[in-house]
Amino acid sequence: MKLMERIFIIGMMIFSGLVIYEGIKLPIKSEYTIGPGFLPIVIGIGIFISSISCIVQSVYKYKKLDTDTKFISKEGATRLGIFIAVLTGALLLNEIFGLLISMVVFMIVILRYVEKYSWFVSIRVAIISNIIFYLIFEIWLRVPLPGINL
């Protein structure tokens, strides 16, 4: 937990650097008022300062606690990793199979391998719920969801 929180805060510091960098590229002043680059710089510096304050707080917190809780269990990390990987993969597949078919595949894989339901239940739930989504979004709300594009 301790390490991960620090990494998160360092991530925020990098983000603040990016914000400042973008701000510097823009004018800071305009004729009568602040320019478009002024606030990004101020906000970026603000994020940086508050991240330092957060790091200091986290140091104090863990000094008091002595023990560090685990950020994530091994099983949890595996599950979450599979979930995000499959979701990203399915979204990329959308280019070929369309959004809904990709989502059916995603749901079947998740229900079968992450939530450990039987094949029958996984396929049934995935297909029924996506038919309902198809009816709601494509037919009823007429959202033009990406279709099969071979």
Partner: protein, 326 residues
């Protein structure tokens, strides 16, 4: 189980509503041997309800109703990135004449003010369909009564308009240069905010177009002092042009259509004929131009291209002076 049945019933009810409300174009048009081989796609670069969308849907409806061409037209929205997404989409079909895109000032300003690697030169201009002139509007309670009064007074003048680097801003900068009077331009987010600011006397005058101004002129809340057309317009015959007042300002917002680059002469001619047929109809004049208070301003592809060159020059100069582009 009961609940499942109930749920399915609700879903069916929803589907029922959806199907009743769908107004899909029934039937395909006669397939011709040459162009077009399939339905045409009109691409609106903004979402449903916006200016692009309204124009293309009005066009599609009138072209179909009046049987100007017998091919099915589908209007699709490709919104995002101030028309950047739509431009990218149409450009990805370069050489294919089945796409026609709506173009307004963002056709020029978006490429200029962002890193987009496309600009109007990457497309085939088909026609300019109309213009939105700009007007100088003041609150009726204002101490001034003419543009001359403003520009000669010692008072610091605050001018409201929508956004920086927009046509409203360009008109203000031109007026400033020609008159020598310093005008303090304040950008607002949309017509609504500008109107509210003028009503509350937060600003001294505003630059806006007839469609926005009309009702407030009619109700007597505002007065119009000048308009940016070559001649006075029929809708508002009492409003003098900038030219009459001695300022040579004739820039206006424009609305037009463009096709992807590299289309054949045959395809170009097909669209030119279609648009010529369209702009002659009464329905176009009344239902689109009249309703939206757009001033007629048809130009064919070649003229439109020249016009775009000229507008691009004006925008580029001003945006450079403002240091928005380097």
């Amino acid at each position: 189980m009961k609940k499942i049945v109930l749920f399915i019933m609700i879903v069916m009810l929803m589907v029922g509503c959806g199907q009743q409300s769908s107004d899909q174009n029934a039937g395909d048009g006669d397939q011709q041997a040459s162009f077009p081989e399939r339905p045409l796609e009109f691409v609106a670069c903004y979402g449903p309800g916006g200016g692009h969308d309204t124009m293309l849907r009005a066009m599609a409806k009138i072209i179909t109703d009046e049987k100007i061409i017998d091919t099915t037209i589908n209007v699709v929205n490709k919104p995002g990135g101030s028309a950047a997404v739509g431009m990218g989409y149409v450009n990805s079909h370069a050489g294919d004449g089945h796409y026609l895109m709506s173009t307004t000032s963002s056709f020029i300003t978006t490429p200029l003010s962002s890193d987009l690697e496309l600009n109007y030169k990457n497309f085939t201009p088909i026609a300019r369909l109309g213009i939105d002139p700009e007007m100088v509007l003041i609150n009726s309670k204002s101490e001034f009564t003419s543009l001359e009064d403003f520009l000669k007074s010692d008072k610091a003048i605050n001018v409201g308009g929508t956004g920086l680097g927009t046509i409203e801003h360009i008109v203000t900068v031109m007026l400033e240069k020609m008159s020598g009077k310093e005008l303090n331009y304040i950008p607002y987010q949309g017509d609504g905010e500008v109107i509210a600011a003028l009503m509350g006397n937060q600003i001294d005058f505003t630059i806006t177009n007839p469609n926005t101004a009309y009702d407030y002129l009619k109700s007597g809340d505002f007065k119009a002092l000048a308009i940016s057309t070559e001649e006075r317009i029929d809708m508002m015959p009492d409003v003098p042009t900038f030219k009459e007042l001695g300022y040579d300002i004739t820039v206006s917002l424009f609305r037009g259509v463009a096709a992807p680059a590299g289309i054949s002469e045959e395809e170009k001619a097909y669209y030119t004929e279609m648009i010529k047929g369209l702009v002659q109809t009464e329905a176009w004049k009344d239902d689109y131009l009249g309703k939206n208070m757009i001033v007629e301003g048809y130009m064919d592809g070649a003229e439109y291209e020249e016009f775009l060159n000229e507008m691009n020059g004006i925008y580029e100069t001003i945006l450079r002076e403002l240091e928005i582009i380097k």
